[in-house]
């Protein structure tokens, strides 16, 4: 069985091939600590869903070692399924009413009836399903269905929760509320593996993120670490107080070409922008040049990278 020293999720050199030729997951390794929310990011077809399918015992790995709470997924799948919760990316419902969905799910998970009753009330309120509680699932909107799908999973206790794009179709207020709810659950010890296409969400909720591409882990760390490591490309834009002459434009073009750290730039009539890594140095050079040419600055902007930038940077490599 598990010990507190084991990582909650351990994936070592996981390989999964469906046809024996191309690996959907290709030597993936990562671990998730207890009570951690770990974001698994990747393009469509990167191997996220296959990884989750292996972790949740739906498909066996081709090779590698995968364990949850110290329990080997291949050797003891039945035990694994008793300690995990899964919110699939696709809809998954019994076409009964919202309330009955909670009741049936609680019964399936052997949750005591009184607990089901209390949790149903709590979850219906928290996930803003009160008005539709007696409606049948097919009458709900996409966002309401997704809320029900996420809420229903919390009817039972679990050690590890897999959330595959859980906020699709939710409005921003509900999305934030659901993320906060999930975050609180993690603070109480629940381990969560979270996939999303909305990288702001991962930035907001995950302690660490792993970016996978073509079945391999290509970057891993906290959001800030990744931004520093991969997303260091910043965009500097400087607006001048007057239009630049042709010779001034030419001078600034020459300056930009001479600075190694500039990856891309443009010099217009009254705006200069540049992208690169050491943009503070570039800004200093531009300011010095402008002062020398008696050009006043109207506005300076330096965009900090987002997780989106990191993601794009990493998967483009």
């Amino acid at each position: 069985m598990s010990s507190s020293a084991d990582p909650s999720i351990l994936v070592e050199n996981l390989v999964k091939s469906y046809d024996g030729r191309k690996n959907a997951v290709d030597g993936l390794s990562f671990s998730v600590d207890r009570g951690e929310i770990y974001g698994l990011l990747g393009k469509n077809g990167a191997g996220k869903s296959t990884t989750i399918k292996v972790l949740t015992t739906l498909v066996p790995p081709t090779s590698g070692r995968v364990s949850i709470s110290g329990i080997d997924v291949v050797k003891k799948p039945n035990l694994i399924r008793k300690i995990i919760g899964v919110v699939q990316q696709e809809e998954a419902f019994d076409f009964t009413t919202v309330e009955q969905n909670f009741k049936i799910y609680g019964m399936l998970w052997e949750v005591p009836r009184e607990t089901v009753k209390a949790r149903t009330e709590e979850l219906i309120e928290l996930f803003n399903l009160t008005e539709v509680r007696r409606k049948r699932v097919f009458e709900l909107s996409g966002g309401q269905k997704k809320r029900l799908q996420v809420a229903r999973e919390f009817i039972h206790d679990m050690e590890v929760l897999f959330l595959d794009e859980p906020t699709v179709g939710m409005d921003p207020i509900m999305r934030r509320s659901v993320l906060d709810f999930i975050s609180n659950k993690a603070k109480n010890g629940l381990t969560i593996l979270f996939t999303t296409q909305i990288l702001e969400e991962a930035d907001y909720i995950c302690r660490r993120v792993g970016i996978i591409d073509r079945g391999k882990l290509v970057a891993e760390g906290s959001s800030d670490e990744l931004k520093n490591r991969y997303g260091a490309s910043k965009k500097l834009s400087v607006r001048t107080s007057r239009d630049l002459s042709e010779s001034e434009i030419s001078e600034f073009n020459g300056l930009m070409i001479s600075i190694e750290d500039v990856d891309d730039f443009s010099v217009g009539r009254n705006e200069i922008w540049a992208m690169g890594k050491q943009m503070n140095r570039v800004m200093n050079e531009v300011m010095r040049k402008m002062a020398a040419m008696s050009i006043d600055v109207e506005q300076v902007n330096m965009d900090t990278p987002s997780l989106d930038d990191v993601f794009l940077d990493v998967v483009k490599r």
Partner: protein, 257 residues
């Protein structure tokens, strides 16, 4: 007290399928056949004479309708795999505290419950329309055996369809075709006589529902004979063959469509 996983799945299957639409299909339609067709045709067909025995049309029809319960329940049970795959619940249940075998058992058990429950209701309705039936311990045993075997056979048939078919249109077309072909080209509604068209007789002869209906009719009306045992054996054999096929296909079925 812990409830075994397959029983929890059976309870879920019962709850999910006790919606008005399913109930109408399972009980309303056969009851309508029994009451409307039985009473209307009784005026046209005063009696059915087979093997020097003469019975009223409603008495003939009632066992056919009871036999149809095995088919209807098998359709509902086996079809659950298709709808669970279509609506994501198959995958959701398989990542829960259940094994594939328990899911399958849950489907079989709910089919049998629906079949036996529906049959009991139809028998009660038939008794209220056409009077009592001559049950003995042996005939009751045959009745239960053929309903269980028939239900498992039809559940397996629809499980196979659920596994093989990928689109809703194809699934609906096949089930509707089977529903009409098996129901109306069987001995459930009318006897096979020398006047029966050859094509209809041929279809009816290879139609498993005919065998189920015949055994139910023997158990309820004519009495059990060697022929009853022979026809029961055929249904049991079909049940084992189709169970094997469906099990083979089910082991590797993908969770989604």
């Amino acid at each position: 007290m812990r409830i075994p996983a397959f029983i929890r799945l059976t309870i879920r299957n019962v709850r999910v399928n006790t919606d008005p639409g399913t109930m109408l299909f399972m009980l309303g339609l056969p009851a309508l056949y029994l009451v409307v067709l039985g009473i209307m045709f009784q005026g046209i067909i005063p009696s059915i004479d087979i093997n020097s025995s003469s019975i009223s049309y409603t008495k003939f029809l009632a066992p056919g309708i009871v036999g149809m319960q095995a088919f209807t329940a098998g359709n509902i049970g086996g079809g659950m795999l298709w709808s669970d795959r279509r609506w994501g619940m198959f995958e959701q249940l398989l990542v829960g505290p259940f094994r594939r075998s328990e899911y399958l058992l849950g489907i079989m058990v709910v089919s049998i419950i629906f079949s036996l429950g529906g049959s009991a209701i139809m028998i009660a309705l038939a008794i209220s329309i056409s009077g009592s039936f001559a049950f003995t311990a042996v005939s009751a045993g045959y009745l239960i055996l053929i309903l269980v075997a028939g239900t498992i056979f039809f559940s397996c048939l629809f499980l196979i369809i659920s596994i093989v078919v990928r689109t809703m249109q194809a699934y609906n077309t096949i089930t509707i075709f089977l529903f009409f072909t098996l129901d109306f080209a069987s001995t459930a509604f009318y006897p096979l006589t020398s006047k029966t068209p050859l094509a209809l007789r041929a279809v009816s002869d290879i139609n498993p529902l005919s065998y189920v209906a015949n055994v139910v009719r023997d158990a309820m009306v004519y009495g059990v004979s060697a022929q009853t045992g022979y026809q029961t054996l055929i249904v049991l054999l079909l049940m084992f063959v189709f169970f094997g096929i469906s099990l083979y296909l089910y082991r590797n079925v993908q969770t989604g469509l």
